[in-house]
Structure formats: structure tokens, C-alpha cells
């Protein structure tokens, strides 16, 4: 029985419980619902909640713990001799899983029967070919112990799946029955069900915290693992980035950090003046029709996915900058460059800067403007000498938020900045960033054993810390500034 089916059954039990509970209590009150403490639906709801909630929580825990338990049991079957030279336990375990899944597929397709698998123990030579027939590729020859582990895996998995179905449905039925026996006309069903619903609301709010814990723990755990294999000092201070698949790589963050900061700097140099001036123009000068057209048009830029910007960098901006600037000036002939990624990222940040600055400028009290006009200042003098200085902290906050966005941006740099880690000043050269390297070191890889893969977690943690720091700082500044005028 699959988990989906079990959950469906639980929902069926819960809805049946709702109607049974409701009709039972109406009958108990002799059809006169005024004798009840709560409205009849609440009695039904109480039964349904008792039937569904504990069972579903149990299912979630079961599904999380089952693979861990199976892994633990099965890995006992594997002896050190079964692990091939240069491999690891996790590689063997993934082989075990693949063989077990393959056997399941083979049985489902009718290529093999359960009896045949039981007698296979002695003859494993043609198992690989048979698994291949049903489309399951197993890397090397199957060793007896590995096959034994796979059979244990299958037995445990199917046994536990069955056990889960029985236990979960049992808990669901028991919960519903318990509630059915408890309800009577004087039972405070509304208070009970409302308390349960409130508990569910609190549980939902904890998802946000769990996410943060998940992010921090997965980053931290694998980063520590990485620093066991690779010197932390070399990671933070080495000037070269040169991963080798055979080991002995140089994994210094500095070239990546330089690329990240350079691209972000170019983006901000492009986005901040344009975004700021656009916000000033829209809030102080633009006529109503211009504002009604230009404001949504700029906001469209914010709704466009970053992959679109990436493609724009790759097929339009990159070749344009190369053919009309870099090559004539003799500065390089790569279409992916810091400038390409920076300019396109700048376009992406314009609406971000302009809408944040718009808020900030609008928060400057009208009285300050009126005072300035009353002294005879022109509009631009008022803006430059009164509004902008007053709004400066808010604008700094906006720029910091934009910087944090720029540092964490991935697709534009993956498609526009290039892949070579370099420390260079020439903006027409291809450079690479932290996010690009996270993608390239981690794509399609799930065996976290080598420092070349694990370095992505260290890079991710650095990225997380930097962007989080910038955000906290920016929010602090903006909040402080808002208080000033409230």
C-alpha cells in the first residue's frame, strides 16, 4: 500500500467520522439541536480531527524515519571488502537501492518472480543482464553481499510499508472511535475543535522556522565536513580556484568573491542612478498619464524571471558588447563578461531600486518640501538639497538590499559572466562568481564525499551569511529612518 493511498484512506475515515459524529449527536439530542452545547457540525469536526490529525502526523514521521532506519539496518550487511577501491559506503548503498528498485520493477513487469529471486542467491551472473532488460543499469558486477543487502532492503521496505498502512489506519480508526465515544450533548465540541485548529495554525507557523533550521543545519553540517577534508585557511585566503577531479585541487574563494563583487558593483553602478532618478522623476515631475504608463512598465521588469535576463545576456547583450566595444578596443573577445552580466543585472535591479526609493521619497514629509519651496528654491534644488539628504538613510538601505540581491543572483551570471575564475580588472573579461560555482560543483551530484563537491556548501554558507548580513543591516537602517518621520 503506497503512502498516498494510506493518506487517502485516512481522509475517508475522517469524512465518514464527520457525518457519523454529526448524525449521532443529533440523534442523542433527539433532533433538538438546542440541547447541544455546540452546533452539530462541531461534533462532526471533533471526530474528523481526532481521526485525521494524529494519523497524518504519524505518517509524516514514519516517512521521514523509515529510510533512515532501513539504511542503518542494510548497511550492516555490507562488509568493508565490498566497497571497491576509491568508492565509499554511500556509493555501494545507492547500488543496493538501485538493485532493490530494479528487482521490484522486474517483478512488476513479469520478467522475474519472487521465487526466482529467492533462488538467485547462488547465481548472480545473469542478474545484471536481466535488470538491464527492464531498464535498470547497475554499474559493476553484483557482489553476493550487495545482493544480500538488496534483498534485506526489499524485505524491510515492503514489511515496513505494510506495517505503516496497518498502524496508521489503526490509529485513525482508534482516534475517530475514541472521539465518537466521548461526544455527548453536553460535550464542549466547539472549544475542543477550536483548540485543535489553533494548534494546527501554530504548527504551520513553525514551517518557517523549520526551513531556516534546515538551511542552516544542512549548510553548516556539510561545511564542517568540508573543512575536515580541506584547510579552512586555504579556502578563505587562497588566490586560486582550480578544482581537479582526481584531488589536489585549489579551492580558494577569493577569485570567486572578486568576480561576485565586481559584477555586483557594475550592476549597482548601472541600476542605482537610473533607479533613483526614475523614482525622483516619477514622484516629483511626471504628469499623471506618464506616471500611469511608466510606473507599471518599470514594474514589469521586476516580474520577469531571471532566466529571461540570462538569455538576454547570452544572445543579445553579450555579442553586442563584444562586437562593438571589446573587440574594436582590443580588450577581449569573449561574449560572456563581467560587463555583460553586470549591465543585464543592472536592468533587473532598476525596478527594485526605483520602487524602494519611491517609498522612501514619499515618506519624506510634505512640510519639508513646502518649507523649501516657500524659501524660493526650485524643484530640483528642493530634491537635491532637502529631499535626498532627508531620504539618504532609506536610500542606502535600498542600495544594500539591491546589493544583496545582486550577490545572490544566479541565472544571469551563469549565462552571462562565464566560468573562468580570474582576478582581473578588465570588465570585458569573463569571470565567475560564487553562485556560478555552486551550480557547477553541485549539479547532478549527490555523493557528498569529495572536497570538490562539498566546497559548494561552504560557498553556499558564505553566500548566505553575506546576504543575510546585508539584509539585516539594510532593514535596520530603513526601520531606524522610518521611525524618524513617524
Amino acid at each position: 500500500m503506497s503512502a498516498g493511498l494510506v493518506i487517502l484512506v485516512v481522509f475517508l475515515i475522517a469524512s465518514a467520522g464527520f457525518y457519523l459524529g454529526r448524525s449521532r449527536i443529533i440523534r442523542a439530542a433527539g433532533g433538538d439541536i438546542r440541547k447541544l452545547h455546540s452546533r452539530p457540525n462541531y461534533y462532526g469536526l471533533t471526530v474528523a480531527l481526532f481521526g485525521a490529525v494524529p494519523a497524518l502526523l504519524l505518517t509524516i514521521f514514519w516517512l521521514i524515519l523509515q529510510p533512515v532506519y532501513i539504511e542503518n539496518q542494510v548497511s550492516k550487511q555490507i562488509e568493508p571488502g565490498d566497497i571497491p577501491e576509491g568508492g565509499s559506503l554511500s556509493l555501494v548503498m545507492s547500488d543496493v537501492r538501485r538493485i532493490a528498485d530494479g528487482l521490484d520493477v522486474a517483478v512488476a513487469d513479469g520478467v522475474m518472480t519472487e521465487d526466482k529471486i529467492a533462488t538467485l542467491d547462488t547465481d548472480l551472473t545473469d542478474l545484471r543482464a536481466r535488470l538491464g532488460e527492464v531498464g535498470v543499469a547497475v554499474a559493476s558486477d553484483i557482489k553476493p553481499n550487495v545482493f544480500g543487502a538488496a534483498t534485506v532492503y526489499r524485505e524491510l521496505a515492503s514489511g515496513l510499508r505494510m506495517a505503516m498502512a496497518v498502524v496508521v489506519i489503526g490509529v485513525s480508526l482508534a482516534g475517530a472511535a475514541f472521539a465518537m465515544l466521548r461526544i455527548h450533548p453536553g460535550y464542549r465540541a466547539r472549544n475542543v475543535s477550536e483548540r485543535a485548529i489553533k494548534a494546527l495554525l501554530i504548527l504551520s507557523s513553525s514551517v518557517a522556522i523549520l526551513t531556516t533550521i534546515g538551511i542552516i543545519s544542512s549548510l553548516l553540517f556539510e561545511t564542517l565536513h568540508f573543512f575536515k577534508l580541506y584547510q579552512a585557511r586555504d579556502f578563505f585566503f587562497s588566490m586560486t580556484w582550480n578544482p581537479q577531479f582526481r584531488g589536489g585541487s585549489d579551492l580558494g574563494i577569493l577569485p570567486l568573491l572578486w568576480g561576485t563583487l565586481y559584477v555586483s558593483f557594475v550592476a549597482l553602478v548601472f541600476a542605482v542612478p537610473i533607479g533613483l532618478l526614475a523614482a525622483v522623476y516619477l514622484s516629483e515631475y511626471a504628469s499623471k498619464p506618464v506616471r500611469a504608463f511608466a510606473k507599471p512598465a518599470i514594474e514589469i521588469l521586476a516580474g520577469i524571471p531571471t532566466i529571461v535576463y540570462g538569455l538576454f545576456a547570452l544572445i543579445t547583450v553579450g555579442p553586442l558588447l563584444r562586437d562593438y566595444f571589446a573587440q574594436p578596443l582590443g580588450l577581449g573577445n569573449s561574449s560572456s563578461s563581467v560587463l555583460t552580466a553586470g549591465v543585464v543585472m543592472g536592468i533587473m535591479l532598476i525596478p527594485f531600486v526605483s520602487s524602494l526609493s519611491d517609498d522612501v521619497i514619499n515618506a519624506v514629509p510634505q512640510t519639508m518640501r513646502d518649507g523649501s519651496y516657500g524659501l524660493g528654491a526650485t524643484k530640483s534644488e528642493t530634491i537635491k538639497q532637502v529631499i535626498l539628504p532627508a531620504a539618504l538613510p532609506g536610500i542606502v538601505g535600498a542600495v544594500l538590499l539591491a546589493a544583496s540581491r545582486a550577490i545572490g543572483e544566479t541565472m544571469i551570471v551563469v549565462m552571462g559572466a562565464g566560468a573562468a575564475a580570474k582576478l582581473s580588472l578588465n570588465p570585458f573579461e569573463a569571470m565567475t562568481t560564487i553562485t556560478v560555482k555552486i551550480v557547477s560543483q553541485l549539479t547532478g551530484d549527490t555523493e557528498f564525499a569529495s572536497p570538490e563537491t562539498l566546497v559548494a556548501f561552504a560557498l553556499g554558507l558564505s553566500l548566505f551569511v553575506v546576504t543575510l548580513g546585508l539584509n539585516v543591516l539594510a532593514l535596520y537602517i530603513v526601520r531606524k529612518y522610518r521611525e524618524q518621520y513617524e
Binding site: 526614475a278 516629483e284 529571461v308 541565472m411 551563469v414
Partner: protein, 451 residues
């Protein structure tokens, strides 16, 4: 700041300026005013120009992806090749591999060459058959296996032309470039022109771009978005099913019930910080927790959906809280006044009134999830997937692609025909986003209430 203190305008002297005649300093100030105003207008102009360039470049490069060159051929389904003993036994017919069907196409070209107006000197039928996509024989085989009784008949097929022939009619390939290209020869292009004049070759709307699965590196003409659209659809469904209830429940708790204490503060700070975490970090989370720890399969829409759910939750929570806040307290007071419990006042009155705002926020959150690429790269959605995922719920665990990732995938391939397809895929993505945003705007216009 003003002219009042300057000596020229002192009351005793002769005024050197009047309101009608500006003095040098006023002119300078007015000029700087005009200059500043122009800077602002130029900034707006650059922003709008960037938008136009962005959309224009995508439309210009991508619109041709929806049209494809087809070559119509009369194929004689030769029983001598397909069904040697004439038994009509489907298993025996299935033994003929795709290679066995290629000669049929060659034969069809030989037949065409008998016509006086078709034929190029030095071009053999074998080379002519290369003008058909490598997908052609496979299509033929699928047709025969579906209709075995048609063996022995002559059937007209509309084959996809190979990527280079298609490129010739879209201006990507020219006679000169064909000279240097080992995949296409000028003779083939001449024949293509002749076929066009004979009405056999046509460039027309290609529904396969939206319905087919991805195709390998050397057959760009057969690549389509079917699997990617389905995968993205599954993920959006997962996000909707998980993020909407969790997001609404969290918002209700924080907005209506949460006591003012440190735990509430922690949750609030948490949510605002999660909204600013770079999306790629969520990809790392998905890889480490959902794939490595929980053992969910790679490239599966369920993992993508879970990661995107966590990513969109803050967006939905922020929008929902705003619309809950917009419901005036008098509604709650009135409900409480007639004896409703706190829970009843929220679920019977506040929530229905806030629903349009919540829906709008949710749709915008889903649009954001639909366009997100970076985290999906890490959880293996870049894999080459040719099989359509099954129907949910099992299909959620099958490998699938996603629209934005498919775009990235296609830009990484060597054949220039994929650039056109990547831009075409972006157009499809933008159309979906436009539709979602339009629905959100309509909902807002229709149901928004000002209190």
C-alpha cells in the same frame, strides 16, 4: 538659495532683473532645473528602452520557433521490408528497428526524382533522405506499429525537415555557410527550393513544439516543450496545495492569534529573512534534505515543488497578512459582539473578506515559482528527460523537466537551432506568467474592497 540676499536686487539700487527679464543667475538655476528634469526623463527612457529591448530580443529570436519546415512524402510501406513473411504478426513487425525504415524514405525520394522538375545533379537519394529529421524513421515506425494493416499501402507523411534545412528557410543557413557545413550541402538546399516550388516543402505552425518531449543534441527540429510544461504544471500544483494552506494558516496565526512574545518575534524575523535568502540556497537545502536525507528521487517534480513551496511561502504569507490587516476591526468586533468565538469571527468573516487579496498574492507567488530556475538546477531537473511523467500522484515522483530549466538546457547545446527554441520557450513561459498576472489583476479589480 534665493535671490533676495544678492546685492543686485537690493531695494535702493536699480533692479537689474524683473519677473519678465531673467538675470544670469536665474537663467542658470532654471537651466539646471531643466537639466535635472531631463536626467529623470532619460532614466525613465533607459528603463523602458531596456524593457522593450529585452522583450523585443526574445520575441524576435523566438517567434520562429513556433513555425517549422515540413516535407511531405508519399511513403510506400513496403511489405518486403516491414513484414517479410506476410503474417501480419505485430511482434515480428516490431522487430524491424528504426534503421529498417530509413530505406523507405530513400525510396520515396527516388520516386520524386522521376518527376522532371525535381532533381539536383550530384545529389543521391541517400543524401536527399538526410534532409528529413532523424526523427522521421522513428515516426514512421510508430505509425506502422499502430496501424499494421496499412503495410503495402502508400501513405502521405508530413516529415519534419532537418534542423539545417529548417534554418535555410529561416535565414540561419545560407548557401555559403552550407559549403563549410558537413551536416548540409548546397545541393540539398537547391533540392529544398525545388520541393518548395513543387508544394511538397512547407513552413507552417508546429504544434509539436508545445507537445513533444525534448530531443537529443543532433535533432533540434524534434525538440519540444511537452515534458517541461507538464513538469512545471505539476510543480505549480504541489506549490499551490502546500503553500496556500500553510501560508494562510501561518498568517492567520500571526495576525489574529499570536501573543506578543519572543517566539512570535522569532517567527516574524524569520519570515522576513527567508524572503531575502538567495534562491540558490533553497536549492542546496532541497539537495541536502529532500534528496540526500529523505531519499526522494532526483529530477522529480515533487522535490522541485517542495523547494519552490518553501521559497514562495514568505511571499504568500506577506500578501495574506497584508490583506488580513486590511479587514477593518469593526468586522471582528461585530462578530464577537453577536457571540461568535474568536475562531468563528476569523473563519466566518475575516477570512472570506480577505480571500480576494489572498488569492491575488498566491497567484503572484505561483508566478514567481513558475519562473524560478536556480534551485531546480541543483536538484537535478537539468537531466535529459524524454519520457512524459505519469499522471499524479505517481507522476510527481517521475523524472521531468521544467520550463525555465529547459530554456537553460537548450542554451547549453551547440547547434544554433536551439537558441531559437530557447527563446521560443521563453515566450511560452512569459505567456503563462502574463495569464497568471492578468488573472491576479482581474481578481483584484473585481473584488477589491476599500473600507
Amino acid at each position: 538659495m534665493t535671490d533676495a540676499s544678492t546685492p543686485e536686487t537690493s531695494p535702493r539700487g536699480k533692479p537689474s532683473s524683473s519677473l519678465l527679464r531673467q538675470d544670469a543667475r536665474t537663467k542658470k538655476r532654471n537651466a539646471s532645473e531643466a537639466r535635472f528634469r531631463t536626467y529623470g526623463a532619460v532614466a525613465i527612457g533607459i528603463a523602458i528602452l531596456a524593457l522593450v529591448a529585452l522583450l523585443g530580443s526574445v520575441l524576435y529570436n523566438g517567434s520562429s520557433a513556433f513555425r517549422q519546415t515540413f516535407i511531405a512524402l508519399d511513403i510506400y510501406l513496403d511489405p518486403a521490408k516491414l513484414d517479410k513473411d506476410g503474417s501480419g504478426d505485430l511482434e515480428k513487425i516490431a522487430k524491424v528497428s528504426t534503421f529498417g525504415y530509413a530505406p523507405l524514405i530513400k525510396a520515396a525520394f527516388e520516386k520524386e526524382f522521376e518527376k522532371p522538375e525535381i532533381g539536383v545533379e550530384g545529389l543521391k537519394s541517400k543524401d536527399a533522405a538526410k534532409m528529413i529529421s532523424k526523427e522521421g524513421p522513428a515516426e514512421l515506425r510508430r505509425y506502422v506499429l499502430a496501424n499494421p494493416d496499412m503495410i503495402g499501402e502508400t501513405v502521405r507523411f508530413d516529415f519534419l525537415a532537418s534542423g539545417r534545412i529548417d534554418g535555410y528557410f529561416k535565414g540561419r543557413v545560407t548557401m555559403e555557410s552550407a559549403e563549410r557545413d558537413k551536416n548540409v550541402s548546397p545541393q540539398q538546399l537547391q533540392l529544398a527550393d525545388q520541393l518548395k516550388d513543387a508544394g511538397l516543402l512547407r513552413t507552417k505552425f508546429n504544434p509539436g513544439f508545445l507537445t513533444r518531449a525534448d530531443a537529443s543534441e543532433n535533432r533540434p527540429e524534434a525538440a519540444g516543450l511537452g515534458v517541461a510544461i507538464l513538469g512545471s504544471f505539476y510543480m505549480v500544483i504541489v506549490v499551490l496545495v502546500l503553500a496556500l494552506p500553510i501560508g494562510v494558516a501561518t498568517s492567520i496565526y500571526l495576525e489574529e492569534f499570536a501573543p506578543k512574545n519572543w517566539l512570535t518575534d522569532v517567527i516574524e524575523v524569520n519570515i522576513s529573512n527567508l524572503a531575502a535568502v538567495p534562491s540558490i540556497v533553497f536549492g542546496i537545502l532541497g539537495l541536502a534534505i529532500f534528496i540526500n536525507f529523505a531519499g526522494l528521487p532526483q529530477s522529480a517534480p515533487i522535490v522541485g515543488g517542495l523547494v519552490l513551496t518553501l521559497m514562495t511561502l514568505p511571499t504568500i504569507i506577506i500578501a495574506t497578512r497584508a490583506s488580513l490587516k486590511a479587514v477593518p476591526p469593526s468586522i471582528r468586533d461585530a462578530a464577537l459582539g453577536v457571540g461568535a468565538s474568536k475562531m468563528q469571527s476569523v473563519f466566518h468573516h475575516v477570512l472570506p473578506l480577505a480571500a480576494p487579496g489572498i488569492l491575488t498574492g498566491t497567484i503572484l507567488g505561483l508566478a514567481q515559482a513558475l519562473g524560478e530556475t536556480a534551485p531546480l538546477l541543483l536538484i537535478g531537473m537539468v537531466a535529459f528527460v524524454r519520457e512524459f511523467p505519469a499522471a499524479p500522484p505517481e507522476g510527481l515522483f517521475d523524472p521531468a523537466a521544467a520550463l525555465p530549466v529547459q530554456v537553460y538546457n537548450w542554451t547549453q547545446r551547440a547547434d544554433p537551432a536551439f537558441v531559437e527554441r530557447a527563446s521560443g520557450a521563453i515566450i511560452v513561459l512569459l505567456v503563462f506568467l502574463l495569464l497568471m498576472n492578468a488573472v491576479a489583476i482581474i481578481l483584484r479589480r473585481r473584488f477589491e474592497r476599500r473600507w
